[in-house]
């Protein structure tokens, strides 16, 4: 058994020596380019001034060691893959260097980029030696794991989970009050960001609201930004304008745009489809993030798409690969979103009885489906729609329900305690459900759930399982999304009421428009998902048992 592998190992150095520069460029493409938040991470080790920033930051000392560990784990994992797939060995060597190269290539497409590459080639050749020694030691370790199939199976089983952790790790690291990192991220941005005015002190670490004001710039640059596919560009514009809102709608629009981009994709010369397509998807994701921060459901869907790209075998032709990817995305949309909604409607319908008074907050498409389905099935119930400024999303829901003939009551969130005594059930949607049972949803949801809990009214959270996430979040401050502060100053339909029209010029005044809040699991009676009705304490079981299935479906 060992003899053929030894011969392959002998052969590898020759390949590496002959095609040193070519293999480097290929290795660069093999990596998925991280999101802009991740790009600033490798810079501190090389910068002496960066070290001071790291030391002074309150969160940075703990994040930095984890980063190093994560990079090492990633390198080890890919080296294990090299043992299994001998033809890929030279392409995946030197993770750290390749990652930096990917970052630089993404930043500069002009001639200046080629000059920088030339100057750093000398430094990279100096780092080659430790990379080789690491690789040789890993080859020796790889031997026993190949000999025993049990060990191989264990490794295969563990890999998706490791990927999950690594892909998730970059997200919470970007703190927008870290000036040096913010500047690095801005250099990578496709769109020129404007300096945000009048930040709220407590929420300076969140991405500041800029994308609404970016709309004119984006429109004018449609023909200049060649790296973004037109379908992706269109969806990004609609995110910024607010035409597409809601976790499911945004996720489906993003996946459809990815499908269009994949269909129009052609593999460039001297590049491998798997790596180049993955980097393209990453750049599209960066663009979406600049248009509006991603939701949790979009993050899970992106993870799915990337895992499908990685699983494409090299034997596929380009056409077969593209067809397979598009059908996988179609299947994801149908099974995880559309069919899941139907299953949720069936489960929640069993809890609607004649004479019930159902309260819902804002606009959730799955809650709307439940109400309409129960009405069509002949249940006699009444609906209370609770709404709140500045988005007033409940009005759209109210119009649709009244048009169908449902008996409705409309009120704002300040009157929820007044109306709650006649309510028998509360139905709420969710943007995400986290590991500790916390429900992350439109701002105001927590308030409604707490009032319902105080009145001993059951709270049903209707959420698809693909929105479950293994993160733990205890409050609404460490992670949230900021909306347009001007929306608070305006009163729609009342142009004469404009007392806050000049709020930006007041140094003592800040307007804060939060988009989401976090509802602790104590206030949730049941979570209705496509896997049945669960207590909030069982969310980790779904994430653990079916997250794996979800990625490898």
């Amino acid at each position: 058994m060992d003899a053929p592998r030894v011969s392959r190992a002998i052969g590898d150095p020759k390949i590496r020596r002959v095609g040193f520069f070519a293999s480097d460029s290929s290795a660069t493409d093999s990596l998925m380019i991280p999101s802009p938040r991740h790009r600033s991470i490798p810079v501190p080790p090389t910068h002496p001034s960066g070290d001071r920033h790291v030391a002074s930051g309150s969160y940075d000392p703990t994040e930095y060691p984890k980063l190093a560990t994560g990079i090492e784990k990633r390198g080890e994992e890919e080296e294990e893959k090299e043992v299994l797939q001998s033809s890929l060995k030279p392409l995946k060597a030197k993770t750290t260097k390749a990652e930096r190269r990917a970052l630089q290539e993404a930043q500069r497409a002009a001639k200046a980029a080629s000059k920088d590459e030339g100057s750093k080639a000398v430094a990279e050749s100096g780092r080659g030696t430790p990379g080789k020694s690491t690789k040789q030691s890993s080859q020796k370790k790889g031997g026993p794991s190949c000999v025993s199939p049990v060990a191989t199976d264990k490794n295969a089983g563990n890999r998706p989970l490791d990927k999950d952790r690594k892909m998730d790790a970059p997200s919470p690291r970007m703190q927008f009050d870290d000036k040096s990192r913010l500047e690095k991220a801005r250099r990578c941005a496709v769109v020129n960001p404007t300096e945000s005015r009048n930040k709220v002190e407590l929420f300076q670490h969140l991405p500041q609201y800029e994308y609404g004001t970016q709309l004119p710039n984006l429109e004018s640059k449609f023909f200049q930004i060649g790296s973004v596919h037109p379908a992706v560009f269109e969806v990004g514009l609609r995110y910024s304008a607010g035409d597409i809102s809601g976790g499911n709608a945004r996720c489906i629009a993003m996946l459809r745009a990815f499908q269009d981009a994949i269909r129009d994709y052609c593999t460039p010369h001297e590049k491998v489809l798997v790596r180049d397509l993955a980097s393209k998807i990453s750049s599209y994701v960066s663009f979406f993030t600049e248009c509006r921060p991603l939701s949790m459901s979009m993050g899970n869907a992106i993870r799915f798409v990337k895992s499908r790209i990685v699983n494409l075998t090299l034997n596929h032709s380009e056409f077969e690969a593209k067809t397979t990817l598009c059908s996988d995305i179609d299947r994801f949309i149908n099974e995880k979103i559309i069919l899941a909604d139907k299953v949720i409607v069936r489960h929640a319908f069993t809890k609607v009885k004649d004479g019930d008074v159902l309260l819902t907050y804002g606009l959730s498409c799955v809650v709307e489906m439940i109400l309409l389905y129960a009405y069509e099935q002949g249940k006699k119930f009444r609906v209370v729609v609770v709404d709140s400024r500045p988005r007033l999303e409940g009005q759209a829901l109210l119009r649709r329900l009244v048009a169908k003939g449902l008996s409705c009551t409309y009120t704002h969130i300040n009157a929820v305690s007044y109306i709650m005594h006649e309510v028998t059930r509360v139905l709420l949607g969710a943007s995400a459900v986290l590991s500790n049972g916390t429900v992350y949803s439109r701002v105001g949801t927590s308030c409604v759930a707490m009032v319902a809990h105080a009145f001993h009214v059951p709270v049903l959270i209707c959420c698809e399982a693909y929105k479950f996430h293994e993160r733990v979040q205890l409050d609404s401050i460490c992670s949230n999304e900021l909306g347009d502060p001007d929306a608070i100053a305006r009163v729609p339909g009342r142009m004469d009421v404009s007392y806050l029209s000049n709020w930006a010029s007041e140094d003592n005044l800040r307007l804060l428009n939060l988009m989401y809040d976090a509802t602790p699991s104590d206030y949730v009676s049941v979570i209705v998902t496509d896997y049945g009705m669960l207590p909030p304490t069982s969310v980790p079981v779904i994430v653990r048992e079916y997250g794996r299935e979800h990625l490898l479906m």
Partner: protein, 347 residues
């Protein structure tokens, strides 16, 4: 008296009623009149009926209704004339549905049938090419499941001994054979404890339980149902059985369990539930009225005016926040783990 028909579940318990009284005589006669319907699956020379097989197992005094159902379904496999796996599965499914229809209000019966189907069909035997070896494999798993379920009570009794300490006082509500086994084993281990039994109107389950405990020389005090709060400060723990354990981690049990749990919670006494794992059901009640009612006749001893309405429900739902621990054959569980176990089994 209400004209509504009492559920078969209640009649089943009445048959095993240990105290002779006029109520018992009347109920025994009514149980005889309303004999359960029979459905025959085969028109063979010797017709096999899953219901008659179930009845035969059910008459065993120590056998739970759910275990009797499991034995009956195992007998379906044994006597099946099917020649393909698909036919056998269909027959098993029909037999399971027949048993569930026999008493739609029995949660443990439904849960046991579902778990049995799940346990038996989740096996590599379905991939056998030879039908006979596949059938024997299924039968082997069916027998094993029956054995596991039958031994559940002993396992629970052993697990519970750590929670009973010398000098403790235990409040028991309802007649549960699992709870009785726990107390019996504690008495055999020479532990000194005292038991308070609720009267358990209108079934008088407390009378029966106190009778059994008196035979074991355990000090027993019988309290009327409304005296629970009065005696709770003397109590160290509450033991109840369960008709069903639902996905929220709560339990469905004899009427009064919820009330006792509320009192125990407010006075900081632990509530322990002894339940076999085959009673775990994929239900999620949100309140008391969210369940199909299991009705029973209530005798107040005097004629009730026709204008007066009587609450006839036989059981209630206790939410998980009022329960401390569940003693099951899967181990000692907190209520939040019930959903995890159900997810493992069903999805």
């Amino acid at each position: 008296m209400e004209n509504q028909k009492a559920s078969a579940y209640y009649e089943n318990r009445a048959v095993q009623f240990g105290v002779v009284s006029t109520d018992w005589l009347a109920q025994a006669q009514s149980a005889t009149v309303h004999s359960p319907p029979h459905n025959n699956d085969d028109d063979e020379e010797i017709p096999f009926s899953v219901i008659s097989e179930f009845d035969r197992w059910r008459k065993h005094p120590d056998l739970a209704e759910a275990v009797a159902a499991i034995r009956a379904l195992a007998a379906v496999i044994r006597s099946s004339k099917a020649s393909t796996m698909m036919q056998l599965e269909i027959q098993l499914k029909n037999a399971s549905d027949t048993l569930k229809c026999w008493d739609t209000t029995s949660i443990s019966l439904t849960a046991a049938c579902d778990l049995f189907m799940r346990y038996v069909t989740r096996t590599s035997a379905l991939e056998y090419e030879d039908f006979n070896s596949a059938k024997s494999r299924l039968l082997e798993r069916a027998e094993k499941f029956g054995e596991i379920s039958f031994k559940a009570r002993k396992i629970i009794a052993m697990l519970s001994q750590d929670f009973i300490f010398d000098g403790c006082t235990i409040l028991v509500h309802g007649f549960s054979r699992v709870v009785l086994q726990i107390l019996k084993l504690a008495a055999q281990n020479n532990k000194l404890f005292r038991v308070f039994c609720t009267e358990g109107r209108p079934d008088r389950t407390g009378l029966r339980l106190s009778n059994e405990l008196a035979k074991l020389d355990v000090p027993v005090k019988l309290v009327i149902d409304s005296a629970v709060a009065y005696t709770m400060d003397e109590v160290d723990m509450v033991f109840v059985g369960a008709d069903g354990v639902v996905e929220s981690g709560g339990i469905i049990n004899m009427m009064g369990t919820y009330q006792i749990s509320l009192v125990a919670k407010s006075m900081s006494k632990p509530v322990y539930v002894a339940a076999e794992s085959y009673k775990f059901a994929r239900l999620y009640p949100l309140d008391q009225k969210d369940l199909a009612p299991a009705l029973r006749p209530v005798d107040f001893g005097v004629p009730i005016p026709s204008k007066v309405e009587v609450e006839c429900s036989a059981r209630d739902y206790t939410p998980p926040q009022y329960l401390t621990l569940l003693f099951t054959d899967l181990g000692v569980l907190t209520p939040s783990v019930v959903s995890d176990e159900l997810i493992q089994l069903y999805l």
